[in-house]
């Protein structure tokens, strides 16, 4: 090959390399997920664990509050996890409890932040999900209680007296909702949807309690720790039940490897208070290792309750 031909080939090769470089750069810049994988880019330089995967892990929290608040609460934690594990996470917002459960079942979701009752409900349908950690309550425990509360001036002091009452509930899937209230009433020989009782969903623990204060409900089932905030208003605990396992990070075992699950669990367990400082309140207090067996009590309660 002549020298002029060589030069021509060199020029063509250089041009091809330049064009490919430009196309790759453009693809990276224009990728709609580029912003969402910013954590991955940061993690690529600080990976310290052995877990590696080029696929993004899809995460969704329980839609307890608006998406923006959820992002503020959870994204700092996901960033931490990317840095620690080298895994990539992709945010998914699913506005319905039921939607989250279906997504996990259909492998459209890899990780979810779930309360105990939703986990048990899910697990009952799909054995391929597993809790990685339980997040601690502000009191440092990995569990919580539910209470049946009433307004003291109303004179309701015992669950046995709950008949022909208006009962305020949070949400159907909420642990402290129909499930816990039914357990407490059953224990007192009363029934949620019997004994002349009427139940109403107030959406949240606060609204359930305020409903009692405002005289709309006679009693309400709420988280015990929340009920205690209203003690200065005459709200008193008629009955309480628990403890139930705390909120957990649940993994889809069909889509995640054991190594990945271990890496995530280990990273969360190793998070220091300083690192958790920017996380949302549900996770800020730390976590402990979760086991499916932690939910056996609930399973037993459910079994006991039957169809509540």
């Amino acid at each position: 090959m002549s020298s002029s031909t060589n030069r021509r080939w060199q020029a063509v090769t250089a041009r091809v390399v330049r064009v490919l470089g430009f196309l790759v750069t453009a693809a990276l810049l224009l990728n709609p997920l580029a912003g969402k994988t910013a954590y991955a880019a940061a993690a690529a330089t600080t990976t310290t664990t052995t877990a590696t995967s080029s696929a993004s892990l899809r995460f969704a929290p329980l839609p307890m509050v608006d998406e923006r608040t959820l992002r503020e609460q959870f994204l700092p934690m996901l960033g931490y996890l990317e840095r620690k594990t080298g895994l990539h996470f992709r945010w998914q917002y699913i506005p319905e409890y039921q939607g989250i459960l279906e997504s996990l079942e259909k492998n459209r979701l890899d990780l979810a932040f779930l309360g105990p009752l939703p986990y048990v409900e899910l697990r009952r349908k799909d054995a391929q999900v597993a809790p990685l950690v339980h997040f601690l309550e502000s009191n440092g425990r990995a569990s919580y209680e539910c209470a049946l509360v009433g307004f003291a001036p109303d004179g309701l002091n015992s669950p046995q007296t709950v008949e022909n009452k208006r009962i305020g509930l949070t949400q159907a899937q909420s642990t402290c909702g129909p499930f816990a209230v039914s357990l407490m009433l059953k224990r007192a020989g009363r029934r949620l949807n019997g004994d002349g009782n009427q139940s109403f969903f107030a959406d949240s623990h606060k609204q359930a309690i305020l409903g009692v204060l405002q005289g709309r409900f006679d009693v309400a089932g709420v988280k015990l720790s929340i009920a205690r905030r209203y003690a200065s208003l005459g709200i008193h605990v008629i009955d309480q039940i628990g403890p139930f396992p705390g909120f957990a990070l649940v993994a889809n075992q069909r889509t995640l490897t054991t190594a990945q699950m271990n890496a995530i669990r280990q990273a969360l367990l190793e998070a220091t208070p300083e690192e958790r400082k920017s996380w949302g309140s549900p996770m800020r207090n730390g976590c402990v290792v979760a086991h499916d067996s932690d939910y056996d009590g609930i399973r037993q309660d459910l079994k006991r309750l039957g169809d509540f």
């Binding site: 608006d66 923006r68 608040t69 503020e72 307004f151 003291a152 001036p153 606060k206 309690i209 305020l210 204060l213 405002q214 005289g215 905030r229 209203y230 003690a231 200065s232 208003l233 005459g234 709200i235 949302g280 309140s281 800020r284």
Partner: protein, 1038 residues
């Protein structure tokens, strides 16, 4: 760029800038007006809402606080009864719910020491101390009077309407109804316009302090409830995505963030916010939407600005007015530009006009209302002979307006001025100006008034010196007259060859009128005789040289074709471009006819109408070329008539001419059309036979010609007697006998000569021998010419003797040629050559001179007087000067006529005209003795003989030679002697060679003899001795 141009541009630029500034100022003013209006609206609305809610809060507070149960519950709360708080909540909740619908977001009770007793909006939060962040509470407690202020709160920031709860004259609590800024914002928006956007922003620092950011919950709450704003880093705004207290979510238009980013960059806005001052500013964002942005500072209870009410009102007027301003600016700029352009154009026009007037050939001057010249261009100065400064300020009319006679114009009022002052344009070609040197200049004048603002302020006069034009027009008239009078047809075309004009001669020549040919192409005259290449060549030559001339055949209107001589010249403009053509044509039909006739005369024999020698030469050349090309055989026949001379001599030239015409006709009749017959001259004809199969074909033709020409010729007008001539034909062939015309003719001539030698009436082929003979003759002729001058000729003398006396009475001079190489040459050999080559005249003179000189010499030597007989050729006699020749000879030699005798042949006398007889009579009168030589051999006419002067008849030798044996000869001699004696003439017999002849002659009465019997011809030096001897024995012979 010159100064004026710069000034115009500067003014235009300044005007545009000024216009822009004014328009922008007006636009700013309008904007400020709108801003001020919108701010006023905002302030009014804000104040109105505050006042309205003030009254509303007053009513609410009275309603609550006038209820003793409420006061009792408050006291219980103060006393630490938890149930009382819940009971008060339950009691007031319906009212609170109603108030929420009225945009009231907070209602709370605080103890006199600043601790929260009950928050209706957050009942679970109570007991906290608000003293540090809510100074208004203490102010109400202290003043025991309601107070209203904006205050940043822990849960909500807004307008606080506070009322003291007085129990027994003591303030036990403070009731507060708060209107959240979200609520105020919505109310404001409703008040000032549904399209307006109202925002609140709160001072970050104070809010952080109120929320106690050190606490976890507060931080989260802050994050979720507030958002930073681009307007100022010191302030935050509501988070509409996550409103507190159950407020509905709002979607903030994306344009707001853009707008606030932009406002944040505006210095005046930033500084106003920093200083806590209201601001109003117009701002536009991408997409062209503009807003009137107003910021109204909200002061807290301590008088510090804690928040801003922001109102963004869409302002279509801004853009519309901006566009209107831009449009107005563009229009104004355009107008200014147009004005500048017009000014520039005017300036340029003026410059151009000035330049034009400065360089135009026409004289231009401008006069003011008084007729004074204010401007004069160089041409005016040049034409009039004045310098420009001499013209400026002078009255034009008085200075150079003149009458045709050269006097100053006697019109007291200038006609030019008079017309222009009336507003008319004055035009005249009959104006005369007087130049500075006094010369009169006829000029063509156009004068116009100059009107400015409807007033005639001046007049401009243009004039041209038309002397040259008039001369030119005269020349044109002359040229036109010449053209019209021209005998030649003139055609003028444009550059495309289309006819523009023709003259009358053209019409006469072609039959076409001018109207019929205008716009036509001259090819309408084409005869079709000239091929296309002819015209192509003509145009090539015209383009190359600009001229063409030649002969051409054209067709007249009546269809007849005529030859014409055509000269075409290109008409060029100043740059040498062809603008047309002019053609001059003349009918050359007559000339062609004459030419044709001249050609005929030059190339054809007028007598026989056969090609003459010149044309023959051409045709021979052509025939040779053809034969050479084809390899064919060509025959050249030279025909010479036998006996033609005799016809001429006897019947005269007219008969000879008729005979020649007949001969020509007969020759032509025997030939093919393609053959050529030419008359070479005299009785010689030449025939060219081309494409012959062989030589026999030529001889066959020769045979026919000999036969044809040998037949009798009846010459009309000549007595009906048939004339016979023969033809001797020499035939030469190309290429055998010669390769060129001269050689072939020589060869044919030699052959013809051979035929002649053979007795005529026959033909001979040419051969080299014959040519040699001819060459020999030619050489002899040349040598003979030389001999005459070289003295090689000699005279011998043969005596004549009278029979009755025996006296030698005469000596006949006989010429001999003493050739240096060949010796003595017989006259029989060279005299025919001399006759053919016309040397006989010169030889005759020499003989005459030499004989007379010798005769004189003898006489001077003492010899007895003796007659000298000299032979005279007929041609000599025919010349009119023969007598003078003889007389000059007498004069030269000093001889006398009586010494000389002349012998003339019978044929010469008989064939020549009467002039010969006249000459003979004159010679006889001079005393010269005359003899008729060779008498009896020709066609003697007794009439002519009778009219002859007295002479001697010399009986020809042919009769004498056989007279002894031939009785006829004797009879003829006797008859001649008898006839002579009857006519009184003497006779002499020549060629007498013996005594018997002498005896018979004496018996017949012959007077004298001459011949060998008496003496042979002898040189002159022998004559005296012979005479002496003869004198001694004279008696014997006699």
């Amino acid at each position: 760029m010159d100064r004026l141009l710069r000034r115009i541009l500067l003014i235009a630029f300044g005007a545009i800038l000024l216009t822009g500034g004014l328009l922008y100022g007006y636009f700013t003013h309008l904007t400020d007006q709108r801003l001020a209006l919108s701010q006023t609206q905002l302030k009014s609305a804000y104040r109105g809402i505050n006042l309205g809610y003030q009254e509303f809060a007053d009513v609410v507070s009275q309603w609550i606080l006038n209820d003793p149960e409420n006061l009792r519950l408050l006291r219980r709360i103060e006393g630490g009864d938890a149930n009382a708080r819940g009971l008060l909540y339950r009691r007031l909740y319906p009212l609170y719910k109603t108030l929420r619908a009225k945009q009231v977001r907070q209602m709370q009770f605080t103890s006199a020491d600043g601790h929260v007793l009950l928050r209706m909006h957050a009942p679970e939060l109570s007991g906290d101390d608000l003293n540090g962040i809510r100074p208004l509470i203490q102010r109400v407690v202290q003043s025991k009077a309601p107070a209203t202020r904006f205050e940043i709160g822990r849960l909500m920031s807004g307008f606080r309407y506070m009322y003291p709860v007085i129990d027994n004259g003591k303030v036990i609590a403070v009731m507060e109804v708060s209107l959240s800024f979200t609520a105020i914002r919505r109310l404001l928006a409703r008040e000032i316009g549904k399209d307006d956007l109202v925002r609140f922003m709160i001072r970050r620092k104070e809010l952080t302090k109120a929320l106690d950011m050190e606490g976890d919950g507060a931080s989260t709450l802050f994050k979720s409830s507030y958002a930073s704003t681009s307007l100022s880093p010191d302030y935050v705004t509501e988070n509409l995505d996550n409103p507190l207290f159950g407020e509905q979510k709002e979607t903030l238009p994306a344009s707001v963030a853009t707008l606030e980013r932009q406002l944040g960059t505006i210095g005046t806005v930033r500084r106003a916010i920093q200083r806590g001052e209201p601001f109003a500013h117009e701002a536009c964002i991408a997409g062209g939407t503009c807003y009137l942005a107003n910021g109204l500072p909200v002061r807290g209870s301590d008088g510090r600005v804690d928040a801003y009410v922001l109102a963004y009102a869409p302002d279509s007027g801004y853009r519309d007015q901006w566009l209107a301003m831009l449009t107005a600016f563009a229009i104004a700029s355009l107008l200014i530009g147009l004005l500048a352009s017009v000014a520039l154009r005017q300036r340029r026009t003026r410059q151009r006009l000035l330049a034009l007037s400065e360089h135009v050939d026409q004289g231009i001057y401008v006069t003011d209302h008084a007729g004074r010249i204010t401007y004069a261009n160089p041409s005016a100065s040049h034409i009039l002979g004045y310098k420009r400064h001499e013209l400026l300020g002078r009255n034009a009319h008085r200075l150079f307006h003149a009458s045709a006679k050269g006097q100053p114009d006697d019109h007291s009022i200038c006609l030019i001025e008079a017309a222009t002052r009336e507003g008319h344009v004055y035009r005249s070609e009959d104006v005369v100006f007087r130049a500075r040197d006094g010369s009169l200049i006829p000029v063509d004048v156009v004068a116009s008034p100059i009107i400015d603002a409807g007033e005639i302020t001046a007049e401009v006069t243009l004039f041209s010196d038309i002397r040259e034009r008039r001369a030119h027009e005269q020349r044109l008239r002359e040229a036109d007259a010449a053209l019209r009078a021209a005998a030649e047809g003139i055609t003028i075309t444009d550059s495309q060859g289309l006819i523009k004009a023709v003259n009358p001669a053209f019409t006469r020549l072609t039959g076409y009128s001018e109207a019929e040919v205008l716009g036509q192409n001259p090819r309408i005259l084409s005869s079709g005789r000239q091929p296309r290449e002819f015209y192509a060549q003509m145009w090539r030559e015209l383009r190359k040289n600009g001229v063409w001339q030649g002969e051409i055949y054209n067709r007249r209107k009546d269809g007849s074709i005529y030859p014409q001589w055509l000269s075409i010249s290109a008409i060029l403009d100043d740059k040498g471009n062809t603008t047309g053509f002019i053609g001059a044509s003349s009918d050359i039909s007559d000339m062609k006819d004459k030419e044709s006739r001249l050609f005929h005369l030059a190339h054809y024999d007028p007598l026989t109408d056969l090609p003459n020698r010149r044309l023959l030469s051409d045709r021979m050349e052509q025939a040779i070329l053809r034969a050479q090309r084809k390899g064919a055989l060509l025959a050249v026949m030279l025909i010479d008539l036998d006996g033609f001379k005799k016809v001429n001599d006897t019947l005269g030239h007219e008969a000879g001419d008729l005979l020649l015409i007949e001969v020509a006709s007969r020759i032509r009749a025997e030939l093919r059309d393609a053959d050529t017959v030419a008359r070479q001259g005299g009785d010689e004809f030449v025939v060219l036979l081309e494409d012959l199969s062989d030589v026999n074909a030529a001889s066959a033709v020769a045979e026919k010609l000999v036969a044809s020409l040998g037949r009798a010729n009846d010459l009309p007008g000549f007595g009906g007697e048939s004339v016979f001539v023969g033809a001797s034909i020499g035939i030469a062939f190309y290429p055998r006998d010669g390769l060129d015309a001269t050689t072939l003719l020589s060869s044919a001539d030699a052959a013809m000569y051979a035929a002649k030698q053979a007795g005529g009436q026959t033909w001979r082929y040419g051969s080299q021998d014959l040519v040699s003979e001819a060459t020999e003759r030619l050489r002899l002729e040349n040598e003979l010419r030389h001999a005459l001058s070289a003295g090689e000729l000699r005279l011998f003398y043969q005596p004549k003797m009278e029979l009755d006396s025996g006296r030698i009475y005469a000596l006949e001079a006989l010429i001999r040629w003493q050739h240096p190489q060949r010796g003595l040459i017989s006259p029989a050999l060279f005299l025919p050559v001399a006759q053919e080559s016309h040397l006989m005249i010169d030889i005759g003179k020499w003989v005459l001179d030499e004989g007379l000189r010798q005769c004189r010499a003898w006489q001077e030597a003492g010899q007895p007087k003796i007659l000298l007989d000299v032979n005279v050729d007929g041609a000599q006699l025919a010349r009119g000067d023969f007598i003078e020749v003889v007389e000059r000879a007498f004069a030269r030699v000093g001889a006398k006529p009586c010494w000389l005798g002349l012998e003339i042949t019978e044929t010469a006398i008989m064939t020549h005209d009467n002039g010969v007889l006249t000459s003979l009579q004159e010679l006889h009168r001079l005393g010269i003795d005359l003899s008729i030589d060779d008498f009896g051999t020709g066609h003697s006419s007794l009439t002519r003989l009778k009219s002859m002067p007295k002479c001697t008849l010399k009986i020809d030798t042919s009769f004498v030679r056989d007279m002894v044996e031939d009785a006829d000869d004797r009879a003829i001699i006797a008859s001649i002697v008898a006839l002579a004696h009857q006519l009184g003439l003497k006779t002499v017999a020549e060629g007498v060679e013996n005594a018997q002849q002498l005896r018979l002659l004496r018996e017949m009465g012959c007077d004298a003899i001459q011949g060998y019997f008496l003496a042979r011809p002898m040189p002159a030096d022998e004559v005296p001795d012979f005479l002496r001897k003869q004198a001694a024995k004279g008696r014997t012979l006699g």
